[in-house]
Amino acid sequence: MSNPSGQPGVRRREFLKVLGVGSAAAATVGCGTDYVEKLIPYVHSPDQTVPGVSTYYATTCRECAAACGVLAEVRDGRVIKLEGNPDHPLSRGALCARGQAAVQGLYNPDRFRGPQIRADNALRAASWNDALTLFRQRLGEVRSRGQAGGVVFINQHESGSFATFLDSWLAGFGFPAHISYDAEAHLATMEANRASFGVAWPGLRFSAARLIVSFGADFLDNWGASVAQQLDFADARARLQGAPRFIYVGARRSLTGLNADEWVPCRPGTEHLVAQALSGAAPAASVAQQSGAPAEQLTRLAREIAAARPALFLAGGEGANALELAQTVNRMNQAAGAVGTTLLPNEPVTSFEGMGGYGDLVDVVRRMEAGQVSMLLVRGANPAFSHPGFAAAMAKVPFKVSFSSFPDETAMLSDVVLPDDHALERWGDAQPVRGTISLQQPAMDRIFDTRATADVLIEAAKGDPSTAARYAGTGDYRTWLFGRIPGGANAVAAALPKGVMTGTLPNAPTPRRAPARVTAPAGEGEYFLLTYWSPTLGDGRGANKPWLQELPDPVSKIVWQSWVEVHPLTAKALGVGNGDFLEVTASGHTVTLPVFQFLGVRPDTIAIPLGQGHTAYGRYAKDVGVNAMPLLPAATDAAGGMVMATRARIRATGDHQRLATTEGSARQHGRGIAQALNASGLGLAVAPGGEHADEVAPRSSGGIDVARGTQPQGADTPRDINAGGERAAEHGAGQAGAGGAEHGGEHAFPGDASHEFLPGLRSPVANDAQGDLGDPASKDAGMYDPNHWSGMARRRWAMTIDLARCTGCSACITACYAENNIPTVGAPHQGRALGPTTPSAGPWDTRPGANVVKGREMTWIRVERYYEGGEGNERSFNPDFETRFAPMLCQHCGNAPCEPVCPVYATYHSPDGLNVQVYNRCVGTRYCSNGCPYKVRYFNWFGFGEPNRRQYAFPEPLNWQLNPDVTVRGKGVMEKCTFCVQRIREAESRARLEGRPVQPDEFTVACAQACPSRAITFGDAADPNWSIARLAQDRRAYHVFEELNTYTAVVYLKKVNHPSPGATTAAPAATTGEAH
């Protein structure tokens, strides 16, 4: 601006004008009511929909092969959330993080908008007409040249009719049958199961077992139908009385391994030897030498296993001898009487029937390299990423068709892309368990110009004179599908509301081709390298969904990065710490990764997760993390499964990068956040002479479980509640005498001690407001008066979290993201540098997870992972440590430290027990976060919810998923868990509308609804009819940081450990005591 005299500067009058306009704008933004927008009505009103009210469509989840049931919540034509389908026999209403994130696949901003055709070495948008014409023309050419035998169709394995449809379509053209591929397939386990039991995946009944031994079978990660397994495992462990003890055998403690009571650390690929030793088929001493597992432990466990009936043995394994392992384990199951009790071949999980994997593509790659493949068609799968060597071989194929909806590595190498509908947009079916058909229906209209692959194939066939006749009578895939489901369209229509129906699909059993077996030399290097598919990203499929990238790995708590797990002992030897880069060389390839020190990996082993390091696949996946696949030896086990372990050389590079981790400390430092006790401490299993040997002992350094000394009053059993007060006092004294360094949570049970508590109700604030502490007549308590006409103060919303059930799977986190519009903050384009950067980078820090590194993470609920015991691991290997998972969210304190410090009253306690955060009052002082002892308040450092900002977390159409019931927060606002207040208000409104009170357990919060362990319960603790009122009075109940007088509304129930009966002083009573 310049003034008339030509001099630079601002004239006073203009200055004020600018100020005036500025203030008007500020007021507009501040109030937001002047914003002009349109109201768009329907042209034709759809049936049965009420605007603003959700409709639920039952369908089938396709994020992994398990085929769980989901209910898609649809609001005004858009899917906004997925919930588990309670009627589904496999998933029983639960849903894992990957399933939750399916909506981010549906609304992924990087999806193909329509068909693509390669031109000038790049994919260009094309019309369906052009793309289909090209497709048909090439189909004709392949046949006219007599190359029909060279056509390869790779389909992502999914249970249901599509495989049958596809094979009949291929046969019509004279092409060979398709390959049903799943990179995560556990082929050895299935191969052995077929031989032993006649089914690929027998039903597993953890709840019927007294002992579970897993040989690298990560049944809580991605081995099998993890949701179903987790449900049953949690049920088993929560039984407390007679709950199964769980032993994990493997070189690395996965999430599953961390849930085990005991870890047998053996070298990768020696699991089958350990199995032999444990079943008594091999001498412990020699196995100990070969496997590296302690002989004493093997002997003790062999004794325990021989006595435990019924037991359940599970085989995973990643070595070249995985099939031998699975066969040994199945023999153990048969010998232990597991078949028919804990292992049910008659109630199999049928989702995995016909599944192929790595070995099925070995031959394809070989043929592609030899130029024998005339046309490659890929649907769903992404072998160019998940199968090393595939991408290079694709160059030799003259015509490649991708049906991918995403710009993944395979699609980017294809000549034509015919994008498939998302699973939530199309029809389908699945046979998850024997006798049940799970239906898949479109939950919404398609977003982009995509078409269901089955319909594309029908159209292509109709356009070809030789195949047209076959499909003349077929309208589309839906008609074809309904025609073959027992009962036809009428039965389907009747079953759709529930999503499941009884029946068996008339699918011919897929013959399993014997896959190629590839052996490789053992590899060289002083360390064993173990790789595993990420439990959250799977075979890399999840990498383009920001929720899953932002979901901390359940074990390492790292987001948006790859890492290499190194034992502290090894790290010390190498002179590296967390975040120092390590160069890992194997199979002639080298990758560089930051170190994550992990107690749960053998010192001679390093472990790397797979699923990251995409070179394509959209903005959230590309160039995030490192792909360690080239390090693998490209070998298979006898069943065709990928060998995921080899040997490697490592070298510290000297570089360092801070890990993008949400972990604060791996130790509780005596804070008693995640508390535990031993099973016998509940008075459920009393070992003679050791009545008090059970209370959870602070473990001494050295990691040996030091049993608590017996107390003088040997007569009072732990069941004697009346004596509890005294015992607690003595116990406290004993603890002080023992040094009391670790404080793992050894308080008296609330039921034992004299105090009864009701969460939040004892709040001095609430009590005072209710007139308990003062003269009720002296002041007006307003809405805090229980007799106030609103009745709000008669409720006390509260939550219990059962740590005996929680496995740390983190499904609750993603469910919370989905429900509460929580922005993801770690994407490469969202990072903001703290200080000056290079001129070209500007103020941006484009390293993935940059905001998280700077402590600017955002998550309303996190799962804290603490180790107990296992100290001194940097001096000597000590595998005897326990892991505790504790979901941590706003505790809705009755006496909240955050509330009095807020200068603008943006956070306060509502009459019904919620710690409320009012976004529009918040001015962002962050005092509340400073005051919060639980550190559960998160700040909007940038405009993650503002569409015009670079950090916007919901680029179109991801914003279609946003929950209309929850405010999207702007920059500078503090936010935190609301106890899903929108669900509370919605339930209240619904009850009011129907003229009734809110029913007990009528609704629940998002985390509790998703939880595949059923660890979280929500409700009104002041009303004895709600489940929570009973649970909050459990003998295992405690509040975190009770000593701070915060009077939290979240009640934790102590974890229950099951130590080895042989390891305690009361060894002879090992099995008899449990009879109770």
Partner: protein, 172 residues
Amino acid sequence: MITKGKWAAVPGLVALAACAIVLSAYSGASSPEGRSPKQPIAFPHPRHVKTLGMNCLYCHFAANKSPDPGLPAVETCMGCHQAILTNSPEIKKLAGFFYKNQPVPWERIHKVPEYVRFPHMRHVNAGVTCQDCHGNVQDMTQVYQAKSLNMGWCVNCHVERKARYDCSTCHY
């Protein structure tokens, strides 16, 4: 020529302006009360409500069962206007939208900020009339915002009618 002395008043003016902003926001001066944008079709509420005696819920069908009152689909309008007043220029506009399969882009008049939840059904079923918030729409040939819709205005009514006035009733 500008002297330094004149500029000395600027900080004071800035402070004054800031006060004015705060006060204006507090007093509700920023409310678009009275706003009356021209609609793409001049829909006469008086004709439908007063002359024909149609209930509000005939078109705003979800107001008593959903947080969202609902807008009539174009086909609802055409249900009658396929036969009635087909020669009127406004109805021709309506038919134009309908036969092109396009929605009518109505101008939105009443809007509370994004951080406010206003469940219509709670109010309608509690005996709050449409006119309490929207004014006498039955008399408006062109609808305007009759009430301020500011928070103070909301809370006054909530207190008077003994409804909840806890923050988390509306803000979450």
